[in-house]
Symmetry: C2
Subunit: 513 residues, 2 copies
């Protein structure tokens, strides 16, 4: 057995049966081993950013990592932005990167690059196998490293001779690390804060935003009067009618500061002490007011759900009384606005959908409105590197078969990884992309204003995606995805309904006036 075969057999032994791939020559023996080793689903993407983002979306829904297979150095580099998003979202990915043969690399062939350096910035674990006998063992380590709480990207670099040489050994899976329980002192401190009578907010992130975590948090809130909020960008959140409503910290800096200003206690459950996305002159970097006390109930690597359950019990919080679900609105009519779109999406979202939210500015009212939608999961851009939405939807569809994926997708962001549409067509994935075509980097107008500057001719031109406009229906068709244009909310409602009833992908270009 060569090293490549031991890689695949060890991945399968560890329960990893899906690989997103854009291989090259240094990965040829791994590709060849795929011909001989059954049981691995192989999904091709034509750009590495799609590979990385699809693995991100897959793991968020499947609850286990996919593997990625990328070409040495520059191929990995093309995937870094979405690996960055996975890193920030604590999403487990086993990233396999080929490399020049060990004895060839010292000759510095043209494609040789700083593979370890590129990987290090996004990885929780990086290791190079120098001999086929190491490949299986390192693969099992990589799986363990990727899934070790809080989760991350584990990068295994395989020089081509480690893949092609005989001497591979399949490794047994290593035991996974469970999340650590929160300490008693952390729970006691949170109890004291919640009983202080001072305004208190609980910030949720990570696994705490699954339904059990939210339910425990809602018990705590009901028993103490504390407020609940989620981080601005969340890996996966249960959301919709019947789910206790947890808002998000707003993205715009002034709104974020205002949302957290009233509180004297902040309890973090898997969340970070919230920090502004960027620095703005004269505004604080931390979003919690300086005089508020910050209590860590659970670090990201801790068991936040268990911590919330124990906190609720310690407070003697009664079981949740099921509340009447929010009334689903009617679809909006007429002009396309952020509020009208949010209303229609809440009205029309299919049951058990997965919403991928890379809507940016046009989606500011979306999350609040979707509290009244049919229950769903919401996946967001966790690292701020735009261009995760289309790939994440692609992977989520593979990780959650039978559920409709609804990608609410800003146009500027979509362009970074537009090649994902082809993989959606090829794999016949149930993805509805709502392409929000405002033909500009709207967020940058806001950011420029937030910095106190005025947009002049050069900035207006740099923030415009017009001259010419992109034709998204043609682009989708070019990648093999059917699409249509909506210029009123009524047209959107018709198209959205029929898109979600069909099998396979569809793109709706929502033309924002």
């Amino acid at each position: 057995m060569n090293g490549a075969e031991s890689l695949l057999r060890t991945l399968l032994a560890c329960g990893i049966d899906t690989v997103f791939a854009n291989p090259g020559t240094t990965e040829m023996h791994i590709v060849s081993a795929l011909d001989r080793v059954p049981g691995m689903r192989v999904v091709l993407a034509t750009f590495e950013g799609v590979v990385a983002g699809a693995a991100d979306g897959y793991a968020r829904m499947a609850g286990k990592p996919a593997a990625t297979l990328l070409h040495c150095g520059p191929g990995l580099a093309n995937g870094l932005a979405n690996f960055h998003n996975a890193r920030r979202g604590h999403v487990p990915i086993v990233s396999i990167v080929g490399d020049q043969a060990t004895y060839h690399k010292p000759l510095d062939p043209l494609l040789a690059a700083d593979t370890i350096g590129f990987a290090s910035g996004v990885s929780t674990w990086v290791r190079t196998a120098h001999h086929p006998s190491q490949v299986g063992a390192y693969t099992a380590e990589a799986v363990q490293a990727a899934t070790a709480p809080p989760g991350g990207v584990a990068t295994l670099i395989l020089p081509s001779d480690a893949s092609w040489s005989e001497g591979g050994v399949v490794a047994e899976p290593l035991p996974p690390f469970p999340p650590a329980p929160a300490g008693e002192a952390a729970i006691a401190e949170a109890v004291n804060a919640l009983r202080s009578g001072e305004p208190t907010i609980i910030i949720l992130a990570g696994a705490a935003l699954g339904r059990p975590g939210i339910d425990h948090a809602a018990r705590v809130a009901a028993a103490t009067g504390a407020d609940l909020i989620a981080e601005t960008f969340n890996t996966r959140a249960a959301h919709g009618a019947g789910v206790p409503d947890v808002g998000r910290i707003p993205y715009p800096i002034d709104a974020a500061l205002a949302a957290l200003a009233p509180y004297r206690h902040t309890i973090l459950v898997g969340a970070r002490d919230p920090v502004a996305f960027f620095a703005y002159p004269g505004k604080p970097g931390r979003q919690v007011p300086a005089q508020a006390k910050v209590h860590i109930l659970a670090h990201p690597e801790d068991d936040g759900v268990d911590a919330l359950a124990r906190l609720a019990d310690a407070l003697g919080a009664p079981a949740l009384v099921s509340q009447p679900a929010a009334q689903r609105p009617e679809p909006a009519q007429g002009a396309i606005t952020p509020a009208a779109f949010a209303q229609s999406l809440a009205a029309l979202l299919p049951k058990n959908a997965v919403v991928v939210d890379e809507a940016l500015t046009f989606g500011f009212p979306l999350y609040a409105a979707l509290a009244a939608a049919a229950p769903h999961d919401c996946l967001q851009l966790t690292g701020g590197a735009i261009g995760d939405g289309l790939p994440m939807s692609t992977g989520a569809a593979i990780g959650a078969p039978g559920r409709r994926i609804v990608d609410v997708q800003a146009d500027g962001s979509a362009l970074y990884t537009i090649q994902a549409l082809w993989t959606q067509a090829r794999e016949k994935l149930d993805v509805t992309t709502v392409l929000l075509s405002n033909r500009r980097y709207e967020i940058l107008f806001g950011e420029l204003a937030g910095l106190g500057a005025q947009a002049g001719p050069a900035s207006r031109d740099l923030f415009s995606l017009g001259r010419p406009d992109h034709d998204w229906v043609k682009l989708a068709a070019g990648f093999g995805v059917e699409g249509a244009r909506a210029e009123t909310m009524e047209q959107f409602a018709d198209l959205f309904g029929s898109a979600n009833r069909r099998s396979g992908p569809f793109l709706i270009e929502l033309v924002i006036p």
Copy 2:
């Protein structure tokens, strides 16, 4: 004056008047400064790989660097593959990367990333300005570093507060470093080799492939019987009818070894001791036979043109006798094959065109055939990171106004940076893209065979771009570029002629059967 304004004014003082950009929030004050500082041409691209590749193409044609403006960490990461190509081609680029404000970065905001780590692998110089007073001086240093022979990417990282704070100082340009003259000993050694009577080949690269260098080399060859050849992948080569014919080392490993096998002396002029692109089991890594002597006439950072002139004089080589130019062929008819396509391109290439060659497998006969085409410059993929062709063409058109750019472009490679088409439309660039649609990663079939493996079902699927096929005419139209499909060589000839006569970009999808 703030730091951002000192950046732009220093760039202009250094003669850098073109910036390719995909900025974000950390670059807002630089964008705002573009509103106030006249004289900079700003070219927007919607993906950073296009920015980097366009700067690569621009510098190859303009003979001076462009600046690039990219967003912190992940934005830079998206540009690394084409910066890698520029690094390998010794192409000067001044890469400006924004970053989190100095005082905000320690809070580790979500978008913070390993900017220095990402940049280091592709840069000849990396520096961070921590205060606005440093920005101008570092900018002048960056220009000097990018253009110092042999040339490369100089990365200047600008935290946003270094841009927005007052205290910027415009710097004077620093004196450029000239290339070093080759030593007398190197010339004497080459003379001895050429007079040895043993088979000798001169390998040219870099500036030696401009017309003066090729002419001097041709004098040497005529006087001594030595053969001339270029590296496999060249930054810019004068080529076509009337230019002394210099072939290339073939890409396929066996052909490369065969091409160099006859020689006992190899003289390098700006070229590397040739190394196989990848390792292949049982085949050597160096392509020159082990028993051959390697003589370095000029390192990449030396003045190879001057060294060739001095070598020719030392040999007493007579002035070049102008040879009758190769006869231009007739356009091919009928079926689309590599040979027919190469023949038609040689027949129909407009005068003074710039050929961007990312044709890969379908283009193997191309370079030899184009020796009979109208004189042109040929730009190739210097680092092996596919996805440089469309961006390089975009930048070359801006760097060489008035010349037609002909991008001979493999389909799989085109997908990595397809967003370049939109920039071509927006800037109304005279680019004809010949999209070679074979609907597969043909090169990987060859690489798999070269490794001694057979393609099975998994590999065939991973190497196929079908299911569904891309519709390149629709994709081009979606980005605002007109296009049409050619299914015979006659149709190609018609479309190619009309594309080259028009103003602005056009895409021909050459449907390879």
